[in-house]
Symmetry: C2
Subunit: 578 residues, 2 copies
């Protein structure tokens, strides 16, 4: 693997303007988002800025997507808060240090999975479960931010508790804060809905109008900050503001990792890695396909892993590829990860010299940004489609969303994993198994339940339409035993192996037991159409040796064999010397 990424080696001058414009636009989105998601994670605002510099550069070096925008995102920030709040006081130095450890663990796991080429781990989660998880998290996040809009203190352990606390705290609402917050929410919603069409009517090109609409949060930040600074509402009306944000680039260093911290953080780190990876890959993939490009899941693991390690080393917290910023990056014309590197550079300038500008930024505006962003993640469409198409998938979605809302993100995502895997195991436990017979006058064999075919007396021919392994071999055994019980005059059980690409150790054991148990009852197991690689491995086993002379190239040959044996007067028994 060349250490210099492909996009640098093949960089073309014509790509530069797109990368430059996208880099600037994403930075303008990234500034309020990074501050807001740090707030959501319970971290000081500068941590959000730190997580938006080196991680982007690290991803640019190792990742495979040309347009993914890496950095702080809503769901990972919520999961960070949920992992750290039992361990330390939000915002304290201990809390910040634990966030770095969490990011380091998550990055280390992603790198390890990438090196081991475990990209398939993303398949531990089905789409309905992911959709339910994100919708549930969005509700959790939005409800959790309402206190900032009201300017009150309230923080329950779950959604219901938080709502009750909010109702109790309602009389203490700071009306100026509520004005700023509600005004921002209204402005952001209107901007999201109407700004782009309005700009188009004014003659702006549609793509530019779309992008401009995404910059509304920055406008809200600028206007509200200027307003608060001018009127000094922080003093006169008690509006909560961000306050002093330390100026200067993040210091590099390894977070101090204790075994105790690792013990309580490995599971959250694993879940953040898994969710972040799945989310990120699906965004990166959908964008790449629009330009006939490909992404490589295993390289995405490396890229995201490096980004999280870089975040940990530079005072940041868990990051991943974000949906909204990636879409804008793509639409604004980013051609390569250079757009991200430009963003990172601009963020570096911001944190080195401009943090003073955030002093009067009201928390209520950040909360408004978060609420409007996450409410758009609530995905009713997928639920509706799933409900119409597959009730079981819709139930998984609802259960995961409900789990997140009622018990928090960790229990929710674990329920989601359990539901996804439960579905997978259930489906795998029920392979399609058909009894086959001969299409009269041909050498073709088809399902007796669906075709007019002839069977051979004393022979049961079974075709399994899947590889045999631990999750489905019992189903084969059950089917064969039921068939044999229903036809006591059976002499031969033929397994048509045309769809079996692999037989694992468990299934080998089951076949072995089946053969022996049939033999004890005077029946013989026959195999037909065994694929080359399967046969090669089978022949070295005791079962393979016992089956010698009973493995047929075609189903036709096996039927012929059974027919000849049944009609040969001297040898009606199925005992097979050889």
């Amino acid at each position: 693997m060349n250490l210099v990424p492909g996009w640098i080696r093949t960089y073309q001058k014509s790509w530069l303007s797109g990368d430059l414009i996208a880099g600037v636009i994403v930075t303008v989105m990234l500034i309020p988002q990074s501050l807001a998601y740090a707030l959501l994670a319970g971290l000081p605002p500068e941590v959000g800025l730190y997580a938006s510099i080196l991680p982007i550069i690290a991803y640019a070096m190792l990742g495979s997507s040309m347009t993914l925008a890496v950095g702080p995102v809503a769901v990972a920030s919520l999961m960070t808060a949920s992992a750290l709040q039992p361990l330390a006081t939000a915002g304290s130095p201990d809390y910040v240090a634990l966030a770095m450890v969490l990011s380091l663990l998550s990055g280390g796991m992603l790198l390890l999975f990438g090196v081991l080429r475990l990209g398939f781990l993303a398949h531990f989660l089905s789409h309905p479960v992911i959709s339910g998880f994100i919708s549930g998290s969005a509700v959790l996040i939005a409800v959790g931010q309402v206190k900032h809009l009201l300017g009150v203190k309230a923080g329950g352990s779950d959604v219901l508790d938080t709502l009750v606390q909010l109702v109790h705290a309602l009389p203490g609402t700071n009306l100026v804060t509520l004005g700023i917050g509600a005004g921002s929410v209204l402005f952001l919603v209107l901007a999201r809905r109407s700004l782009s069409p309005w700009l188009v009517r004014l003659g702006t090109p549609p793509r530019l109008a779309d992008i401009a609409a995404k910059l509304a949060p920055m406008l809200a930040v600028v206007v509200s900050t200027a307003l608060v600074a001018a009127v000094r509402w922080d003093q006169s009306a008690g509006v909560s503001i961000v306050g002093a944000v330390p100026q200067g680039l993040p210091q590099l260093g390894l977070p101090s990792v204790s075994l105790v911290a690792v013990g309580s953080l490995w599971l959250p780190a694993l879940l953040i890695s898994l969710v972040g990876f799945v989310e990120s890959v699906s965004v990166a993939q959908s964008l790449a396909l629009k330009r006939h490009q490909r992404i490589q899941p295993n390289r995405e693991l490396l890229g995201l892993g490096a980004a999280n390690v870089a975040s940990a080393l530079s005072g940041g917290f868990p990051v991943t590829g974000g949906f909204a910023r990636s879409v804008v990056n793509f639409a604004a014309g980013a051609n390569t990860p250079l757009a991200g590197v430009i963003s990172a550079g601009l963020m570096g300038v911001v944190i080195a010299v401009l943090t003073g500008l955030f002093h009067y930024l009201p928390h209520a505006v950040l909360a408004a940004t978060i609420i409007v962003a996450v409410v758009s993640l609530i995905d009713i469409q997928t639920l509706r489609e799933a409900w119409r198409y597959d009730k079981a998938d819709a139930m998984s979605l609802l259960a995961t969303a409900g789990g997140v809302i009622a018990f928090g993100v960790e229990v929710g995502i674990l329920m989601g994993v359990a539901l996804s895997l439960g579905t997978l195991v259930w489906r795998s436990s029920h392979p399609h198994i058909a009894v086959v017979g001969r299409v009269p006058g041909t050498e073709h064999f088809r399902n007796v339940a669906r075709h007019a075919v002839t069977t051979e007396p004393g022979l049961i021919a079974v075709r399994v339409d899947e590889s045999l392994y631990f999750a489905n071999s019992d189903a084969l055994l059950d089917t064969v035993e039921s068939l044999v019980a229903a036809q006591p005059d059976t002499h031969y059980v033929l397994l048509v192996c045309s769809a079996i690409n692999q037989i694992d150790t468990t299934a080998l054991g089951v076949l072995s037991d089946l053969e022996r148990s049939l033999a004890q009852r005077g029946m013989a197991l026959l195999l037909a159409e065994v694929k080359g690689p399967v046969l090669d491995r089978l022949q070295n086993t005791p079962l393979g040796q016992r089956l010698e002379g009973r493995v047929f190239l075609s189903t036709h040959a096996a039927f012929d064999f059974a027919h000849r044996r049944a009609t040969a007067p001297s040898n009606p028994s199925p005992s097979l010397a050889r």
Copy 2:
């Protein structure tokens, strides 16, 4: 469902002698085992006896196996000890109460799984993983019992720690205890290896000799107890004995369940249920098949669940179907669960009037019984076979065994579940996908990589040999995109759906995205050989509507369509206005 079990309704007089003999013989095995496994679980000896009465009767009412012997078993006892030792002092009333709660939870879960017909849950574990788990547990158990043979105190948190402590404690060895213990081990090993052939040489019928050999532990118990009682080695030499065992049948009652206990015990209870169920079903199944009988996994869940609830209500601890006793029960001629009911009755008599006999029973003999029993569970054969047949399965086995030995049963079994599911997800993520072409002059289509077939220019025909769902739909997308990238002049991508029995919501989304993304690039997605039920559901979706006119009955028809379009001069484009 009739409340009176089938075996009672159809009971025949001729079955009685077999059931009676088996019941008596199993009782003679069960007495020392129940005492020993209570010791292993860290419980007073009478708890082992309690767990050998009502649970057997409960299983007899609901279970489906005619020969399974339910009661305390080694692995479940070890898992009980491992779950309870962090929560209470072994042998204390709190510890006993928690063991009942554990049994109640485990029984409740099994009943729930049974009612929900979740017998397929057994497929969460592959055979190599189960074999590794049992072998690892056997090592853990055997090492943990050595202290009783030496008559010393030593109890590490893991195997290595225990070994170190044993070495340190070695100088304090009680030589008389060691004599009794080592003598018992030697006797039991010799009995297991040579007693049966020796009895056969003396003229005993082989089956009887086999059964007699299994009764050696009882002989060791009787002789050593008599010896200690006669010489009073408990006083003169400090040999540790069982002591007073409370006499009288167990009192019935619900254990007091606290939420805290449920919080710490639900996971161990789930793991004990899962392992116990898998173990029990595999024993019951292999015995049933020998007699052309069937067992029903969902009824086994009910039977074992009822057994555990009965155990909890009568002062017992988690039980399941045991391997050794079931085999003896079968060999001794048990015809129905009446054999078990007879055992339970005899155990009731023992505990009501005979517990005084166990007073001088040395702990060293029970430890010897456990060690000899579990060492025989160490399964090198499966490892050797797996190593030869499938290295990945062998590695799973070793990792699970290593996990149990190094980190304990819970971490070990969780590693095993993770490895099993990881294999399942990995396998499911890699479905067999073939590019197909026409067998010249026919309407048959075969894999281009394996047959001499002709393809249609501008058409890529892909056959997926599995149902499409969340774990494998990305693999299809990847394959199609690679093929399209390699053949830029493609106009049609044909998906041959002959092996697709189901398309889940996730896969539907992937297909939908694929169709749209192909359309953007001027390519059309075609489907052929879609099965009826799949087509019915597809037609109600937006994708189904977009695909109208592009779903073909046969691959042949789809090839013809592509060919006509390619050769029609007026309409070379793939845009399909129906």
